[in-house]
Each structure stands twice: as structure tokens, then as C-alpha cells.
């Protein structure tokens, strides 16, 4: 499987990438680690005329503390997130979820920003960012803006990132005392989750993000509210699938996915100490 021919541009800075996007408009796609985009291009589901390679913008690969927030550069590879002492100690759920992405080879290339910008409801990391209450820094021609995760995923494979914009940083409130759990149910080790649940409990705050339970990454708001009002894990998890429209495919139908969402949410809450 070989992609359709395209023009290749190597971005040498974030500003250069933005100018290339401005030049080529919706014919261009950004290439980071390539582990979401290249498979789509090989299957010819994506046929960009221009590929703008941002994979060498090493100044967008970092994990650093910024007051109450952990700031992670969008081009930080999964492997570097997974093994970061700061990520593990401040937002452990993200390290756990990242360690479940694909396989070691994928994690050596794939990036946090790339996975989030892809906006795939079946991806592990959006659910973790939802549970942790993160936000995304998006740079465009007229400057940067910060978008909370609840406004970031706008539809199937769609995000708030405009065609002329670039995701540069992911910001996550530090939660060193939080307990958490990442529940991923799949058939084979490296597969996508059939359903997944990312759970974080930090004092009164509870965050629950679900994988593969709707057309976009979703928050289980009913579960969070139930926990906040003192419900047990089992009672709270009963509402995990309420109002959601999960896909039906060879692995699981709608009813089975809803069942999995309730079970995995309950297990997650229990593992997180609720």
C-alpha cells in the first residue's frame, strides 16, 4: 500500500509550518509522527496534495512545569510521555494511558499532539485528557489560543484546530495526589480499545473519559456528577453509557459497548479508590 503522490515540505519552525499551511490551504496536512496520518494515506482514505512535516520541530517536544499546570509539547513522543517522571508523578493517568497506545514501535514515533489532533474517538489519549481536564494550545496566524478539552473534540476525526492552525502544547492541571485508572478492553494487545474508560479522582474532583463510545471522544458527565453527590462506584457507573451513541462493528454491537462502558467505568472507579 503506497500513498497517492504528494508534495513534501519540511517545516523548520512552527512559524514556517503556519506559513506553509497558509500557502497551501486545505490541500495540506501536517505530518508529526505519522502513525495516524500515514496509515490513512496508505489506505488512500487521506490524499493530501501537500504534506507539511513538522516532525523535526524538536522545540515542541518537552514536558515542563508551569505553575499549577504540566505543559507538554505537542510533538512529545508517546515514549517520552510514558517514561517522563513529571508525567508519572503529576498526571499519572496520562502515563498509564500512553503506555497502552499501540505497541513500542508505535510509541517510538507517535506524538501526543498528533494523537489528539487526529480526534479519533477510538484513541486512548483523548479520554485521558478529558478525565484530567486538560486544554490545548493552538497557534494560528494571529496568535495562540487555549481551548479546553470539552470544546476541542468537535466531531468524528474533527477538532477545534483550524486549517491554518497548529496544535503546539497540551496543558494539564497537576494532580499529584490523584488516584486514577485506565481501563482498556481489546481483543489483542496492540488493538484499539473496543471500549475504554479513563478515570481520575482528586479529592472532590472526578473525571471520566470514555474511548470508542460515541462519534467523538466523550466525557461521562453523569458518572462524574453522581460521584460528586456521593454515589457508590456501582451506582455512578450505571449511567456511564447514558445518551451516548457508540459504533457497532465486528467487535461489538451497541448494547455490548454500553455494557462494557458501565463495567469498565465501575472497575476504573473502584481501582481509583471510589
Amino acid at each position: 500500500m503506497i500513498p497517492v503522490a504528494f508534495e513534501y515540505e519540511l517545516a523548520t519552525s512552527a512559524e514556517h509550518a503556519l506559513s506553509l499551511l497558509a500557502e497551501h490551504g486545505d490541500e495540506a496536512k501536517l505530518l508529526a509522527g505519522g502513525h495516524s496520518l500515514l496509515p490513512l494515506m496508505k489506505y488512500r482514505l487521506a490524499t493530501p496534495a501537500v504534506v507539511v512535516d513538522i516532525g523535526r520541530l524538536t522545540d515542541l517536544s518537552y514536558v515542563r512545569e508551569d505553575g499549577d499546570v504540566l505543559a507538554i509539547g505537542a510533538l512529545t513522543r508517546h515514549r517520552d510521555v510514558e517514561t517522563s517522571d513529571l508525567v508519572r508523578s503529576q498526571v499519572g493517568l496520562l502515563a498509564a494511558a500512553t503506555s497502552k497506545v499501540g505497541d513500542p514501535q508505535v510509541r517510538h514515533r507517535g506524538t501526543l499532539g498528533g494523537a489528539l489532533a487526529h480526534g479519533d474517538p477510538a484513541s486512548d489519549l483523548p479520554a485521558a485528557i478529558i478525565a484530567l481536564g486538560g486544554s490545548m494550545v493552538i497557534q494560528g496566524p494571529s496568535g495562540s489560543r487555549e481551548v479546553p478539552v470539552d470544546d476541542f473534540f468537535t466531531g468524528f476525526l474533527e477538532t477545534a484546530i483550524g486549517e491554518d492552525e497548529l496544535l503546539t502544547e497540551v496543558r494539564i492541571p497537576k494532580a499529584p495526589e490523584a488516584t486514577w485508572s485506565f481501563q482498556k478492553f481489546n481483543r489483542r494487545a496492540q488493538d484499539w480499545a473496543i471500549v475504554g474508560a479513563a478515570v481520575m479522582v482528586d479529592g472532590d474532583r472526578c473525571g471520566v473519559g470514555l474511548v470508542n463510545m460515541d462519534s467523538r471522544p466523550v466525557r461521562a458527565g453523569g458518572v462524574e456528577a453522581a460521584i460528586a453527590s456521593g454515589a457508590s462506584a456501582a451506582d455512578a457507573a450505571a449511567s456511564a453509557a447514558d445518551g451516548l451513541e457508540p459504533p457497532s462493528d465486528l467487535n461489538a454491537g451497541v448494547d455490548y459497548r454500553c455494557h462494557l462502558a458501565r463495567v469498565l467505568t465501575r472497575r476504573g472507579l473502584e481501582e481509583a479508590g471510589r
Binding site: 500500500m1 503506497i2 500513498p3 497517492v4 503522490a5 504528494f6 508534495e7 513534501y8 519540511l10 505530518l31 505519522g34 502513525h35 500515514l38 496509515p39 494515506m41 496508505k42 489506505y43 504534506v51 512535516d53 516532525g55 515514549r79 499501540g102 505497541d103 513500542p104 514501535q105 508505535v106 517510538h108 514515533r109 494487545a189 496492540q190
Partner: protein
């Protein structure tokens, strides 16, 4: 466009289309056919090589993304006639049946031990989750990796 990289210590440079996959660059332009293409969809791991010392699936990387990088393939592991310890362990443990997955399996295993030098059996199995053996010969593959890890101690 001109793409240049180091493969197994040798400079390799070819004029290729941007859409050329790294695995095709390695097999067809560099002429190194030890790296196999299996699923061609980043699932099976047969095409695993090292880029700057880390295991990656060369079917899911463009050759241009490896421009200027240091690539190692299965042909680059042995020192002349002396097998790499991982190759030796695969040989001694009979860690292959048809052999198709073996180059990728060995490259993934070498990368795994770089990151986890003294793994448990569970860590080996999890660390090789990106590589499929359709003969299902995992038992001896895991044994070989554990033996290689032991030899390095």
C-alpha cells in the same frame, strides 16, 4: 527528492518520490532485503528496524522522515561472522519456525532490552506486542529474549 541516511554504518543516498516508504527504500534502493513486509499496515512488526537506536515499523515511516538519520536493519546486527547475542539466542532456543517474523522480532527484542535490560517474562511478552508470529512460536521467542537478557547480565 534526494534522501540520504546511514544504514548499518554505510551512507545511502537515493533520489526517491516523497511517498516512498522507508521499508521500500531499504529493500529496493539500498538492496537490503532482510527486512520483511508483512501486513503493510503497522500491525505485524515484520518490517521493524531501528532509527537512531529505537525500534520502529518501517512500513509506517516515509523515507524522507529518515533523511539524515541513523538506521539499523537486521543485516547490521552481526559482527562479521559473529552473531549478535540476540541472534545467537534465537538460534540456540530455536525461536523461529517459518522465519518470516524473525528479522522484525529480533530488532524489536534488541530495542526492548535497550529499554528494559532485565525484563520479566511478562515484560518480554508485553514488549513484543507489536510483533506477530503467525506460526505462533512465541514460547521459544520469549525464551530467547530472556536468555539474551541473562547473557548480558
Amino acid at each position: 527528492m534526494q534522501v540520504s541516511m546511514t544504514i548499518n554504518g554505510a551512507d545511502v543516498s537515493h533520489d526517491v518520490e516523497p511517498r516512498t516508504l522507508l521499508v521500500h527504500f531499504i529493500r529496493e534502493d539500498a538492496g537490503l532485503t532482510g527486512t520483511n513486509i508483512g501486513c503493510d499496515s503497522s500491525s505485524c512488526g515484520a518490517c521493524t528496524i531501528h532509527v537512531n537506536g529505537e525500534a520502529v515499523k518501517s512500513c509506517t515511516m516515509l523515507a524522507v522522515q529518515a533523511d539524515g538519520q541513523d538506521v539499523t536493519t537486521i543485516e547490521g546486527l552481526a559482527d562479521g561472522e559473529t552473531l549478535h547475542p540476540m541472534q545467537q539466542a534465537f538460534h540456540e532456543c530455536h525461536a523461529l519456525q517459518c522465519g518470516y517474523c524473525t528479522p522484525g522480532m529480533v530488532m524489536a527484542a534488541v530495542s526492548l532490552l535497550d529499554e528494559v535490560p532485565d525484563p520479566t517474562e511478562a515484560e518480554v511478552r508485553e514488549g513484543l506486542e507489536g510483533n506477530l508470529c503467525r506460526c505462533t512460536g512465541y514460547h521459544n521467542i520469549v525464551a530467547a529474549v530472556l536468555q539474551a537478557a541473562g547473557g548480558a547480565r
